[in-house]
């Protein structure tokens, strides 16, 4: 090797040049280079380089290093110790203010931790699937009333064809659900069972607690979830046991349990109770045609080798689209196929119709946006408190500041001091906040909705998130007071000619802002509580209070039950139907000469309107004799309105190839909850043999006993089949409970916001008064009474309160109106009166807060006041 090609490594040299004292550089650089060349001859070049680097590191000695700024600043470490001591003393000296600061920030941080847990919970949903990036749900889009909509189903033959035609597709899994009766010994229940291809347990990560996952390829095996194992078998291992699955009254099959799934992760949108081989669909539904392009499977999942492979598959879907379009009527013609990856499916479920993932909960994205707002506002409120109190109390620290400045503290150092004090406060607040979030807020929220976010403090990302929140809070609350206080000149401070702190306009603005926020929160709490009551009283459009119903298996069950109940004197009217309000409907496409229209169809017996208490606005109901009104329909008002019919009676349309004529218009009624819009709905007469529901109108007082009679009748007729009915007012499930929760959540938010704002105000008034003790004492000695002193104190806040009210009333009004419009399709009318109520409540609390201080002033002996210094 030529000597001139040999150079010592570059970066250690750069480092050396960086830290070594300028005057030693030439000598020492030369020395080590000489040694490097010697070593390079003696050993290898690599070893010489290693020694060279090592030598440079060993040159890091105090007397060789240049004088850096930070070396000096390290000396200030002791200064920080002093800051820390001062801040702790400050905290202990005024416990009320410290409590306000720390409690306020802690509450806000507690909510932030809850917010974090919720975001983590939402975004980890379904992420436990190992194949989440290579498993896709096959979806399609179809044109509906001019817009493209995405559907989660797929044409029946698609799954098998994809597997045959594309080498990229490794696995395909079709999913189909059916309601069945499951029987084991004395346990008989209505259940929903999932028919899947044996690949299901390969594609989705649902590990088994007992049994083997490959057993699904056997058509006689069944895999069940852990809760189901407990429900039917208790704690024992059920592997090898057999259970009877009844697809219909006569059609049942014995299955052997070959697997029990482990407990599912709580953050999931897709799981199962019972899994059986897809082939069983033929047994369950004789004549099931899996090659029918015009029918759909609930879901088809595909697995590819590489995530990018799905593009190839997607590009080749055109031929299926054409096949499908040729076979079906244009109602269900597919516009295009799309594949949705499993990893992000949970976010998109709100947009995809008829999606198997939808059965879980809907995506929480809206809730997250909403919570972001609430948490930010809480943090803001707490920061404002801190800023206000810091500015107002700064007057007490002027001397300290003057002394510090005199002995050489620069403005920058004063700012650093105040910020570091702030970090101390925020740190304490964070400790309390973590406890609050962990032990209070999160359990409260989980308890309300009865789910588990699986939050644990043992999450490394949490410990990155928390310091960030802490720093942001500390800076946001500390930077303004620090800059403000450090601005004052030493001389004026020490001369005592500075008067400030109590009349800072910024303090007033912040306080005003707090009042506005508090008013908004109070309005929300009041409105959500009132809205709950309002909706509870809102009419459903039919008489839900005196109707009971039950699902029936087939015509003979309907007939037998009908015969028994007919004789019961408590029953006023009986009616059968294929679909039942609140339970289900059939989405149907109506053809008009010039357009197509999608509506919900309910096929009912002729007496259904009478039984359910649905009123007719115009026209007539169906005639009650066999074979009546085969081509007549009754539409609801919404449908008439959406089709802009001036005179609905006599209008005609086609369904498939049959023409129907409108004979009546029914008053609008809510099929599902008030969360969802009224849908265009129409009734047709159903044949008795298709009836699947039996609805009974009873006397309201006798509803309960009638229901017992119905259950008894069922039990004597069909001891083998579990009863599947209920009160009509329960069809919305836990809807009212949900409403109650909304009110509850808002009341908690509002209370916290009000407490924060009031704490801030209390702190300000207290400081203000403590600075004027002498003045008040003199006033009292000269004969001032309650009124006089109250006026004197309130005088400062009149303008503030009035201005805040003028801002907050319209703002709260707009805010709550948009929140309600967003959350509910039907809600109570928002009047300015509600907001006024909130505002008066706020004013009352403000007056109460200030009054506590006035009373305190009045109770103290003026002599004591004059003695204080």
């Amino acid at each position: 090797m030529k000597p001139q090609a040999l150079h010592p490594p570059k970066w250690p040299l750069k480092f050396l040049r960086f830290f070594l004292k300028e005057e030693y550089l030439e000598e020492i650089e030369g020395d080590i280079e000489e040694i490097f060349h010697e070593n390079a001859e003696r050993f290898s070049v690599r070893k010489a380089k290693r020694i060279y680097t090592w030598e440079i590191i060993k040159l890091l000695r105090p007397n060789l290093i240049r004088n850096f700024e930070f070396v000096n600043q390290l000396i200030q470490f002791s200064m920080f110790k002093n800051y820390f001591k001062i801040s702790v003393r400050g905290l202990l000296k005024s416990p009320v203010n410290s409590f306000i600061n720390i409690f306020g920030l802690a509450a806000a941080i507690g909510f932030s931790i809850f917010f974090y847990a919720f975001v983590v919970y939402t975004f980890k949903r379904d992420q436990f699937h190992e194949n989440k990036n290579v498993v896709f749900l096959s979806t399609f889009t179809a044109s509906r009333e001019g817009a493209l909509r995405q559907y989660g189903q797929s044409p029946r033959p698609l799954g098998e064809l994809l597997k045959q035609d594309f080498p990229q597709v490794i696995n395909v899994c079709r999913v189909e659900d059916r309601n069945v009766i499951v029987k084991h010994g004395d346990n008989i229940f209505n259940e929903r069972i999932r028919f899947v291809d044996p690949t299901f347990l390969d594609m989705f990560t649902f590990p088994l607690k007992w049994g083997v996952s490959t057993s699904l390829s056997d058509v006689n095996s069944i895999v069940i979830s852990e809760p189901m194992a407990e429900k039917y078998f208790g704690d024992e291992n059920p592997i090898g046991q057999s259970i009877l699955v009844k697809f219909s009254a006569e059609n049942g099959k014995e299955f052997k349990i070959t697997g029990v799934a482990k407990k599912f992760p709580s953050s999931r949108s897709f799981d199962f109770h019972f899994l059986i081989n897809f082939e069983n669909l033929r047994t369950a539904q004789p004549g099931f045609d899996s090659h029918d392009w015009s029918a759909f499977h609930q879901a088809t999942f595909v697995q590819v080798a590489q995530p990018s492979d799905i593009k190839i598959v997607e590009a080749g879907m055109e031929k299926y689209r054409r096949t499908q379009n040729e076979v079906v009527e244009k109602d269900w013609a597919i516009a295009s196929f799309q594949f949705e990856p499993l990893a992000t499916l949970h976010i998109k479920t709100d947009e995809i119709r008829e999606d198997v993932f939808r059965e879980g909960t809907h995506s929480n994205i809206t809730s997250i946006k909403f919570l972001t707002g609430v948490c930010t506002l809480m943090l803001l409120l707490a920061c404002f408190n801190y800023i206000n109190i810091a500015i107002s109390t700064s007057v007490k620290r002027l001397k300290e500041l003057g002394v510090r400045k005199t002995i050489g503290a620069t403005r920058r150092l004063v700012i650093v001091q105040f910020l570091s004090e702030n970090i101390v406060v925020t740190f304490f607040a964070m400790l309390v906040g973590i406890l609050l979030g962990w032990l209070v807020v999160i359990p409260w929220f989980e308890g309300l909705w009865d789910f588990s976010m699986e939050f644990s403090l043992n999450d490394p990302r949490l410990w990155m998130y928390l310091p960030i929140i802490m720093l942001i809070t500390a800076l946001a609350s500390g930077i303004y007071p620090a800059i403000y206080i450090s601005r004052f000149q030493t001389v004026t401070i020490l001369k005592g000619s500075v008067r400030f702190g109590q009349k800072n306009p910024v303090t007033k603005i912040f306080l005003g802002f707090q009042l506005v926020l508090a008013c908004m929160f109070i309005t929300s709490a009041i409105v959500f509580t009132m809205n709950g009551d309002y909706l509870a009283k809102r009419s459903w459009g039919y008489s839900n209070r005196d109707v009971i119903y039950t699902a029936v298996e087939n015509e003979s069950v309907y007939q037998q039950l009908n015969d028994v109940m007919q004789r019961n004197p408590k029953i006023l009217s009986i009616s059968g139907s294929v679909q039942h309000i609140g339970k289900n409907h059939q989405t149907t496409i109506l053809h008009f000469p010039d357009k197509d229209f999608e509506a919900d169809r309910l096929s009912v017996g002729p007496t259904y309107f009478n039984t359910m208490g649905i009123e007719l606005v115009s026209g007539r109901a169906f005639k009650d004799f066999d074979g009546s009104d085969k081509n007549a329909v009754v539409v609801n008002e919404t449908m008439a309105k959406n089709l802009s019919w001036v005179n609905p009676i006599g209008q005609q349309f086609r369904i498939d190839s049959i023409t129907y004529e409108v004979v009546g218009v029914a008053k609008d009624f809510h099929s599902y909850s008030f969360f969802s819009l009224l849908r265009p709905t129409f009734f047709t007469v159903a044949d008795k043999k298709d009836f699947r529901f039996l609805a009974l109108k009873v006397n309201r007082e006798q509803e309960q006993s009638a229901f017992e009679d119905l259950k008894k009748a069922w039990a004597t007729l069909y001891p083998e089949i579990p009863f599947n009915g209920g009160y009509q007012e329960d069809v919305w499930g836990n809807y009212y409970e949900q409403m109650g929760i909304h009110g509850h959540v808002w009341r908690v938010f509002a209370s916290v916001a009000v407490i924060l704002a009031m704490l801030g105000l209390y702190g300000l008034v207290a400081i203000n008064i403590s600075g004027r003790v002498k003045e008040f004492s003199i006033r009292k000695i000269l004969g001032a009474d309650y009124k006089n002193i109250s006026n004197n104190i309130f005088k400062q806040y009149y303008v503030l309160i009035i201005v805040s009210l003028f801002v907050s009333v319209p703002l709260s009004f707009i805010f709550i109106k948009s929140v309600l419009d967003f959350a509910y399709d039907y809600h109570m009318p928002v009047t300015i009166w509600v907001v006024t109520m909130a505002a008066s409540l706020l004013v009352a609390v403000v007056i109460a807060t200030v009054a506590t201080q006035i009373i305190k002033v009045f109770k103290t002996n003026p002599v004591e006041g004059l003695k204080t210094e």
């Binding site: 020395d31 000489e34 007397n63």
Partner: protein
């Protein structure tokens, strides 16, 4: 008094500088000491000792010639000051006196 104090390692370096005369620059001092002490020394330890003694006034230094091997950087040649030499001699005298003060017997006893 404190300023004139000489540590053990410093004394060794100072003696080497005195012995090397015109050749007394960083690398040579290191090489010389390493061969006598039979252990490896770092540039840092030698340099910090040299700089410390220069501050205390035992040493002076000036730039010498540059060689290609040093990448064109000049050497710094160290020389002992008269104060430095005096401190060295003092140390030597103190040691000799102490040595002579040890009774022979003590060594013999220790040897047993």
């Amino acid at each position: 008094m404190k300023k004139t104090k000489l540590g053990e390692f410093e004394e060794l370096v100072l003696l080497t500088v005195a012995a090397l005369q015109q050749d007394a620059y960083g690398v040579e001092i290191k090489r010389e000491l390493e061969s006598r002490l039979k252990e490896r020394l770092s540039v840092g330890s030698i340099q910090s000792a040299l700089k410390r003694m220069e501050d205390k006034g035992f040493l002076t230094s000036q730039f010498g010639e540059a060689t290609a091997k040093r990448g064109g950087k000049r050497k710094r040649i160290y020389a002992t000051t008269s104060h430095g030499r005096k401190v060295l001699e003092d140390m030597k005298d103190i040691r000799t006196q102490l040595w002579s003060a040890i009774p022979k017997l003590a060594f013999e006893l220790k040897a047993i």
